[in-house]
C-alpha cells in the first residue's frame, strides 16, 4: 500500500502541475481511526493529504456524477478508483451522468477493505490507532493492541468481490491483483432464501430495527443522484418520514429496487451506516437476480444498457399473466 500511495501522489501532482486536471478526488485521513474521508485536491502542494489504505470503503464515483459536478466546470477531474468505483464510473457514463472525457481515472487494484464494525467489536473500549503492514492490521485501543490478519476482517462485499481491478482507467497505480473466481458468489443471499416466509420477514424486521432514517446509505451511494429523492418528496409524499417500521422498510425496499441491475456491491452504503446495518442484504438479492435472469453484472461495459433499461424478446417473463 505504501508504494501505491506514493504512485497516486506522484501521478496526482503531475496531473495538477501540467494542468491536465482541475482537481483530484481521492481519500484523505479521517478524523477518527479506521476512517477516511473523500477529498478534492486542487493544488500540487496538497497531494500529501492523499492516502490509500484498507479503510477507503466509500465510493468516490459518488463525487463525479452530474449532480455533484460543479456547474460550468470546464476542466477534467481526476478520480482515484478501486474496482467497484470504476464500475460505478462506467454506470455514470452509461446513464449519461458524465462523459468519459470529463474524467481522468487513476485506477487502484484493490485487495479489499476492512469491516470496521467487526474490528471494533474485538475491543471493549474505543479504537484509537490503526495501521497496516502488508496483510496485517495493527489495531490499538487504550487497553490492548491486536495484530490481525486482514483477510479475516474483510467487508462482506470485498470477500465476494470478483472485480478487484478497475474495469476502466487511464493509468494504474499498481500492477493488477489476481481476481478470485467463486463457485457461489451469493452464499449470504442463499442463507436468507432458505428461510420460510415468516422467518424472512422477521430477518428484515430485525435488520432494520435500528435504522434512524439518516439516509447516509443513500447519500453514500453513487447510484442515488436524483435531484429530489422519493423519500424527500412532500407532494406527493410517497413514504412516511418517521420511525414507523413499515415506513422504514418501505424506504429500504424501494431504495434497493431503485438500484436493481445498477448496484456494483461497492459496500459504501454499509460503510456509511452509523448503526451498522447490513443494507446490502436488500441489494444483494437483486444482484443475484440480475446475474441469474439476465447474466448481468453492473458497470462492466460502457456500451451495454442495464437490463431494466432495455427490452429484449428473450427477457424472462414467467411472472406476467
Amino acid at each position: 500500500m505504501d508504494t501505491c500511495i506514493k504512485k497516486i501522489r506522484e501521478l496526482s501532482a503531475d496531473l495538477l502541475e501540467k494542468g491536465e486536471v482541475e482537481k483530484v478526488i481521492g481519500f484523505a485521513e479521517g478524523t477518527i481511526p479506521m476512517a477516511t474521508s473523500p477529498i478534492a485536491i486542487q493544488s500540487k502542494k496538497d497531494v500529501e493529504k492523499l492516502v490509500f489504505n484498507s479503510t477507503c470503503g466509500l465510493n468516490l464515483a459518488n463525487y463525479v456524477s452530474r449532480a455533484n459536478y460543479v456547474a460550468g466546470e470546464k476542466g477534467k477531474i481526476a478520480i482515484i478508483a478501486k474496482g467497484c468505483d470504476s464500475r460505478n464510473i462506467v454506470t455514470h457514463i452509461v446513464e449519461n451522468q458524465i462523459q468519459r472525457d470529463q474524467i481522468y481515472i487513476i485506477g487502484v487494484p484493490c485487495s479489499g477493505m476492512v469491516d470496521k464494525h467487526k474490528i471494533s467489536r474485538l475491543f471493549e473500549d474505543e479504537v484509537i490507532d490503526f495501521s497496516e503492514d502488508n496483510d496485517s492490521l495493527i489495531v490499538s485501543s487504550r487497553l490492548k493492541t491486536l495484530t490481525l490478519k486482514k483477510q479475516d476482517y474483510l467487508r462482506g462485499n470485498c470477500l465476494y468481490c470478483t472485480h478487484k481491478n478497475p474495469v476502466i482507467h487511464d493509468v494504474l497505480a499498481t500492477d493488477p491483483v489476481e481476481e478470485q473466481s467463486l463457485e457461489n458468489p451469493f452464499p449470504d443471499v442463499d442463507l436468507i432464501e432458505a428461510l420460510d416466509l415468516d422467518a424472512k420477514w422477521q430477518y428484515f424486521e430485525n435488520l432494520t430495527k435500528n435504522c434512524i432514517r439518516c439516509y447516509a446509505c443513500r447519500n453514500a451511494c453513487p447510484l442515488c443522484y436524483c435531484p429530489t429523492c422519493f423519500v424527500d418528496e412532500s407532494s406527493p409524499q410517497w413514504v412516511g418520514k418517521g420511525q414507523n417500521k413499515t415506513d422504514v422498510n418501505t424506504f429500504h425496499f424501494l431504495r434497493a429496487f431503485h438500484c436493481a441491475g445498477r448496484c456494483t456491491d461497492c459496500g459504501a452504503c454499509v460503510e456509511a451506516c452509523p448503526m451498522g446495518i447490513n443494507v446490502r442484504d436488500f441489494t444483494r438479492k437483486l444482484n443475484k437476480d440480475s446475474l441469474e435472469l439476465f447474466g448481468w453484472e453492473a458497470g462492466l461495459d460502457v456500451t451495454k444498457r442495464p437490463p431494466l433499461d432495455a427490452y429484449s424478446p428473450d427477457d424472462p417473463d414467467d411472472f406476467i399473466k
Binding site: 436468507i192 416466509l197 413499515t246 438479492k285 437483486l286 399473466k321
Partner: protein
C-alpha cells in the same frame, strides 16, 4: 420486484403482474378472478401494513 418482495417475506401470491389491453375485457375478468381467489386463500396480510395507532 416480486422476487425481492418474496425475499423479504411477502407471499408471492399477493403480488400479480399482468398485461391487459383495454380491448381484452374477458382477460381482465379472468385475471381479477384468479387474483382475488388466490389472495382470499391466504391469511389476512400482516406484513408491510402501517399501524397508525
Amino acid at each position: 420486484m416480486g422476487n425481492l418482495l418474496e425475499h423479504m417475506g411477502i407471499d408471492r401470491d399477493r403480488v400479480h403482474f399482468s398485461w391487459i389491453s383495454s380491448a381484452e375485457a374477458t382477460k381482465f375478468v379472468d385475471v381479477v378472478k384468479e387474483i382475488s381467489d388466490r389472495v382470499k386463500a391466504l391469511e389476512p396480510n400482516k406484513k408491510f401494513v402501517k399501524d397508525y395507532n
